[in-house]
Amino acid sequence: MPVNLLDIQKKLKGFGAQALARKEEIAVRQKEVTDLIQGYAHRLDELKARVSYAADVVRHLRCALPVDEPLDTVVPKPPLPKKFTVMAADGSQINPSRHAQVAFCVINVGLIKMVRGSGLTPEIFTQSQLLDYDSLFTPSGVLISEGMVALKRDLREREALADLAEDLLLPAISMTDGPLELYREPQETREFEKTLDQYLGVLKRLHEQGLMTLGYVDKPGSSLIGQLLELVELSDQDLEAYSHRQRKFAGVNDVSLLSDLLVNPGDRSAIFAIHSETSQRFKGDLALHFFYLNVGTPGKTHLARVEIPAWVACDHDLVGVLQAVLTEQTCIMGSRPYPYILHRAHEVAVVTLPEHQHVEEMIVAEFDRRGISVDEKSNKQYHKDLDRTKTRYQG
């Protein structure tokens, strides 16, 4: 037996006790934050000023920034437009691996476009991109990281949406999974900068085409609102010593703060802007905003964070459409709310193991044709590949 359950068993009591104690601590803090929300609900200017002050003294500050809605705002779901377009893109990738016979990278993006109210079958697209061999290596000659590939993938997703965005029936909404904000810690800073510029260019294109874009964050763990209120609780001295590594309201996340407010399915919170280092690159119409949305069912609240650019956030009608459409999309998935269209984009994009192998075989064949020697698979990869299931005809 790989795990010695007796050893686990011995520690289980203490483990549970610790969890309980921690939960109680957090509950106390949460009460504090909730009270602060009540207290500062309408004191938006004070909060904005405090963030502005803190931005100068705290490195890597990351928090919510109120815009024009009180903190405890609850906006119920408006009615769904009769006809609209909803699109989603999702990507998957084959990361370059030193265990493989050859180094290669494929980014596969799945797209789906559904015109609700039309009765038409949604359209499905896939875009598969084999990255240039040259782009697989950093200037230092090692293979690019998985994070870099992910960055390129996120860019491809938006590009793909922009490519499809002509002649759309409006209103039109496009979505991707995860934040709109690119938040990576890549070593390849130069490459990141280049990619980010391209990314912003695409967002701009989307804006020009009138295609609303959003990033859907399921089960968000962030505590942007808690961090905002921490700023007002701390003295200026404390603020100087503030570090996001040692927080006053640690463990109190936004979802737990808002769950009691957004009780009805379709309810959204106030819209906040995001203050962060990266978000500073998203300027003007593209400035990053977010709100929380209850995509759950009656009696079972489930909050998602929705990230949108400023041009959408500023137009409450557009936000209303988005709110209604997202609620419907998540509702389609029944007891496990998640935007249907996003799930479908993911399904389309997924690269299966056989496909992976097939592409690899194609590349190896091309290398052979050109007389390029091909490494053997690593033994680790060889044994992984052995485990394949087959089915047999049984009448």
Binding site: T121, I124, E328, G334, Y393
Partner: protein, 198 residues
Amino acid sequence: MSEIEIGRLLRSGTTGFVVGCKVNQLNAPSFGAMVRVPLEAQYQVYGVIYDIHIEDDGLVRQLITAQDVPEEVLKDNRENRNVPVEIGVLALGYEQGGRIFHLLPPRPPLSLDAIFLCSSGEVAHFTGEGRFGYFRHILRDRDKPIEELLAAHLYQARAAQVDAGNEAWYQMAVGELITLMRDDYQGLIKTLSAVSEI
């Protein structure tokens, strides 16, 4: 020859094969319909659909928990998604050099071979040849719903034979079935009850 392709072969054996197809291809084949798999020049395998199997998956299971499923989503699932639809086909015989044999095919079809629905003329040609030898293959497998299968097959083949001007085929077919099954009272009565509903 009909060119209605209903799918491609997933797996096969001497006695039959399984065809995979998309849900939107599914309006063509029906239970009891005859299909053919052209394998090479002058050689094709004939079979009858005894099972159409639509597998579920996580998404479908999830979708049924929703209160309303928009029409576009239904269509997306049926037409776009790679939901495995499996069509079970029982081998009935083959055609070689223009001659029909009601024997099991010497070689089964191979993976991804295209499967076509038989046209009325092809059904009449296959079923009118010989003396209903292919009933053997259907009757062999008592695990399958052979009563229903026979009824569905007779219904479709009768129409094809009537088109071909052979009005007497149906009576002879039922007569042959009775001869083959008369030692199995229960089975025969069940089959005739099913046939009587067509």
